[in-house]
Symmetry: D3
Subunit: 323 residues, 6 copies
């Protein structure tokens, strides 16, 4: 039981059926933690920390609401993942105006989840990208292990906290500055265009952050890029955390992400990358951040893309790692 | 003259011009059937049979309204297809609350069209996917020939009619259960994601329905996939009917299809596939279903994609089959 | 326990609080009926019976989802209605393609509700207007009493079932033709504009349906109009059923109703009318129909107007009738 | 036959029915003029003359497309106007880049209509407000009578043509400067807010244009205001032309008019005013301008408001003038 | 010069013209304060303090961008207010994650403005409603006078800061709890519906906050209501501050305010109220809050309503107070 | 100083920063011309010349407003282009109704720019495609050199000016007919679908315009196609002008272009092509036309795609040509 987790507003009336939907698969276990979960989902509804206004705090709610549109069977891999035991432990409790306390709550809640559900796989639904810093701090503190970060992003997120505090432009910088993660252990895939100012490049150089632009990725392919990153990371770190800033996607595919732009990644490319990621046992957790459902199309195209991405990783893990 | 066909609400004021538009090419011949038509278009405005609410019944109307945006000249193939004689025989008459009668009307109207316009090519504009069952029954009954189905779809549409009757999730199952079509004669291209529950896979296995996922198609290419399907079908059946559920398209390309999702087919891929399909004389008819114009963007992106798909097939047939 | 009622897809995680929201007030009691409920809400998710395509079947779901935006306290009347015991008994079970069976299910479910929850007040959330016919049939059959209808509508809904069966244009006609209700016991408030064809006026004349146009109402005021209608009805009938077709509202106030038009009623006028209606004990049930949430604005303006209307009637009843 | 009129793009497939819709009532008579028409509708699809970009040129097309939503029976007046013989003579022929020629064509087409259909009532569907100048010139030239203008507008439209030629800000000024109409014969109802610059007020003063602000109108009521205007005009002019700039409406009621604003007229107020206008035989023609269907809501709220306004005037004329 | 004020992102290229637009009237004077300004506008772009996600921080920017749509001449009052000297002193400097510091900055900036521009009228453009607390604190601290508050709002905004700090639900409570303002000096006009929970009513009773519901106001009229409030306030306080939460407006008129609802005030009613307010010299400042331009319609209906409201008050003051 | 150039409505408040944004990079120099500019941007806000209604005249304004979203650093090329001196010389002065004068103004303004800023690179922001004709005339007249055109377009734009004058369907034809450019010196990349009528193909054949369809381009790749075009052009002409009709893009990527369609180019393909174009010194100017911001998504996806395209070309020129 974690005091830093609260129930979301609604729950699915789950039904038993041969044709299981994701809504019938995920067990609501709000605040109740258990060793028996293979996968744990935690909502992290914070976006008042965004540089520009965002309702990404609504994403955990919309993410859950989309579960009735998906089944547990993947036709691409011809596998049903219902055997995985997956729990939704609810949302991290937030404060209305104290953002630092929100970040502390995230770290506390994640620490509870990591301790209460050991040996699980941890999926965090943001929220904006600022949430990744406290989540990774919890990973680092709980395990004492060296942590690598695989980031899918249009941006480096290496701003300093000097002028504006721990906004969504700063999570990687926070972790580097605090020594939680080393620059050489961070890999960013998907960078493109004109959205990273010169000072951030200098910071990336300074810390040794690894950059794989969208063009690089397209030249090399998903399998090769991920194999190479994982090979390098495996030699350096104990655990890899994957953070997916959905603004890595092209605005045609992710209209509901405030910072998505033309010239970005297609959804099928992201799904291929996450399929590759799912093959590696060293990956222990992931988050999906920066989707603002209020900006999405009426059909919630972007919200659904996030669920598809999450399931893609689950299926790949199940097929390749049997978990 | 068919009593099961009615005039659509509006007609184009057609004009003669060197630069012929599709609106000036298609001859309105509502209910009047003739041997002289190379191609016959029939509107099938039924969608109260949809599992989830849909205004796909509006698609024939919107489809026709888009004809002024297209010419009869294809710059890709450098050919003008105005020499083809094409008729719009109007819409199948529907009943406001008796869905079974609607399906009967479709079968009767199509039987009239097949008999009244023999040796033509038959294009049906849905409506939802439930319309394919009565259309194919009319083909089977009229000709007595063995019919194969080439389906472009995100779903198998193999639900039973037990719990909810002949909805848009059931057309292929209806045809299989009634012995109208054999499972081995059904080929589905474009399956992907998490939208086909396990029971449907079992049904597909049971009946021997052939599945080519989107990933399979992308690995092999349009020309190879269609050539292979057509080779196999040609050895088994007399006639091939092509049914295009527009939900096979990615939601970025087909926002106006209620069941379109991220991770689907691009329009250029669908056009390439239909270009290949147009090369085979064994193909005698096609339908385009499940576009809900009320959900489309204001620019009617999805409605237009359907017209583009239809014209692509017409052009390919004209170039390769001279009809 | 009624076999004709099913659970809706989701349920609120209700919380105890001094500041009670409607979501925390309404008790989920899906299919479970009880004598102790003051008010019973039944979802009636049917709209495949609509003449023009409609997703009004989604309204019960959206109606419930809006409950977190409203409290049980009315500042206009300075009263908190939390003392009323109110239950949500779920949705009527529907069939995917057999519309007549859907209407039968509605009648059966309502009969169960009326018998299982006697002496309650009955709120039905449509669905399209066709649902009113089976609901009123259940009232008539259960009680054996004479029933009057107070209808707020832009239309008379007096079409015959001859050509298209029991569509949403026919409910009042069905009841009159079947002798369930007398024409003189029907009062329609809000008629305006150019939406009722001559044949319907002739039918209204034939049956003696009472018409109060929007202009009439505006000249006389809500209090006077309702007082007069109730006086007349009280002399004739035992029970009054109020049916609110939300298309009575102006399109500026109800963009999410397919048939709403310019020149209609303002929401404040409808709320005033329903406030007056709430004063009369002879009123035993009501429905709110024809809201299509898929057509509504992103802010769900029309969905919310329906909840506001419902609460207005509840508050007025509580203040004036102490129930 | 007028060479300045062309067929619109589409025509309704009209049907005979007891329940006549407006689409079945209006006779298409493109370019063909006749003495027997009680009412003549002319499309005037010009808006490249707008100061700010507008697609009001699309309004005649959308106006016609909405005719299937309205019947010929008015429930407010309890009258069916189908006995009126009404013709749609098509659209004025326009030039793609020569705006002065467009204005000439309008004047020529209207002259043809006035001569070809004498003793009729003339309804023009814009286009932007620049069309009113050539229309009124045609009235003045054809009849040689003194013409008064009753204008419903948020703006005075008294800009000079000096800097930008005959834009939609200038029609009244053009007519005054050319001596076609006298300033004292112009009455503007609905002015409000902060949209008429000081120089225009000075022009209005100079020419003696009569101004009735929205607040004035609300204080006095529709019946009184129109009676007074008509009394004054009747003493001065032979013919009154009514021009309705739909930007007089509040933006909540007319989101599809580029210049509509908060603080404007409600649709019911406009309908009441036009109902009063319809009582006066001196009124011989009217136009509805400045609706841009591309900016309208998906439900085409503003387009429909224009049709409602037009029918309101027709009904009132029929009731009060028997024509 | 105030260090707590920064330049907005863009500036109008102002032009001299007989027909002055508001954009040419307002003088940019970012951070530069002066005794010579009759009116001072300050942007207060803070909304990360909102309970639910809001981009009201974008409103100052959108408010300024709308200035080219309005002139300085009011046709209702037949007056041009260009003689008023009005300055835009820019936006309060905000911090990205420290909300308390933002509130401090607002108080500091307003203190600078009040001192640097004495004897002016102060217009603040929010931001969410939390900004009113520091603004009023600055008024109180600068002048040492007793301050009354006239609030137009659907809500009481009397939540405590206990659980969530100084959110947009708390400004009035903050001021009462800190003794900056007395409960009896607060008047709220426009309350309606089901949006104020019981605990807030108890707080209002406890502090003696005066409530005038929307229904009360409609019964009594703008002139009477404001005259009465001003009479009472004049006997108690030295200065009145007017805070306009745009959520007081009906959702049909203010779709761009996250908390606007059906059943609210019309814009013309708000404008009438503010016209009355403008007659009283005791009113020294005002704010317009809670407009989220990202939620507004494409035509920015709500953004424009705010500018119209602001100008209405300016004109009334100019006419009645000659300033 | 050019009298044919005017200031745009707003200007950025530029700031000095290590992290330079495009808004801080581009120097406003409205009407002021200078030899020292490496790149000159000219707004050409004309779209009343469009065949179908368009607000492309708003694009220069929206283009500039998007500059704060982009930095001067390209992560793909790892280069910062801030060293380039770039000026925005404002908008060409337009007339409200005289389209021919607008085209003259464009030619005059461009002549001034070419003379006043010699040896620069010239970027024109349309406006519709009709603007390309006067722009290229200015290039031809100023330099007396032979000019080639590289056109990215779904259409040939070879309509004659006979029936409708110099609309946006005619610019290439105008230049060919006037002998300003030779047909063999025109290369069109991106043609596809059913949008070029037969007569235009005949015209293209007659003049010898080079056509590279979208399918051709996809078979050959950007580098090869552009290298080949440039090789051929270099042997024939002195200067190449690149005109980008944004309707070449697929409607999923460019919803804000009235003529964009399914089956078009992806943005990444266009960016790759422009990257190749940037390598050739013979290219001296470019325009981006036909974006209608009013039709774009709320997130302004298409507007941003244009800025991205422009920056891509700038970066490539800087890397490969050092200018």
């Amino acid at each position: 039981m974690s005091e830093f987790l609260v129930s979301p507003a609604t729950t699915w009336n789950r039904v038993e059926s041969e044709d299981m939907k994701v809504k019938d698969w995920v067990e609501p276990s709000y605040g109740e933690l258990s060793e028996s979960f293979d996968v744990v989902i935690t909502g992290v509804p914070l976006s008042r920390s965004s540089i520009s206004a965002s309702a990404a705090s609504e994403y955990p709610d919309f993410f859950r609401k989309s579960w009735n549109l998906f089944t547990t069977y993947s036709i691409d891999e011809d596998v049903d993942i219902r055997a995985l035991r997956i729990a939704d432990v609810g949302d991290v409790k937030m404060h209305g105006t104290n953002i630092l306390q929100c970040h502390d709550n995230i770290e506390q809640a994640m620490t509870d989840v990591l301790n209460g559900c050991p040996e699980s796989f941890y999926v965090q639904i943001g929220g904006d990208h600022s949430i990744t810093a406290p989540v990774v701090r919890a990973f680092a503190n709980s395990s004492g292990q060296r942590i690598g970060i695989l980031q899918f992003d249009t941006h480096l997120d290496l701003r300093t906290t000097e002028s504006d505090g721990p906004t969504n432009g700063t999570p990687i910088r926070q972790l580097l500055d605090a020594g939680v993660v080393k620059g050489e252990d961070v890999y960013n895939i998907g960078l493109h265009g004109f959205y990273n100012a010169t000072s951030l490049i200098r910071a990336a150089d300074h810390y040794g952050v690894n950059r794989i632009t969208l063009k690089d990725f397209r030249r090399r392919g998903a399998e090769s890029v991920i194999a190479n990153v994982m090979k390098e990371l495996s030699e350096k770190v104990d655990v890899v955390y994957v953070t997916v800033d959905m603004d890595v996607l092209d605005i045609a595919y992710a209209p509901g992400v405030p910072a998505s732009t033309p010239g970005g990644m297609r959804t099928d490319e992201l799904f291929d990358l996450l399929h590759e990621v799912g093959k590696y046992d060293i990956v222990k957790g992931t988050d999906f951040v920066c989707v603002d459902p209020h900006r999405d199309t009426k059909e919630l195209q972007t919200v659904k893309a996030g669920v598809y991405a999450f399931l893609t990783m689950m299926v790949s893990r199940y097929v390749h790692l049997k978990k």
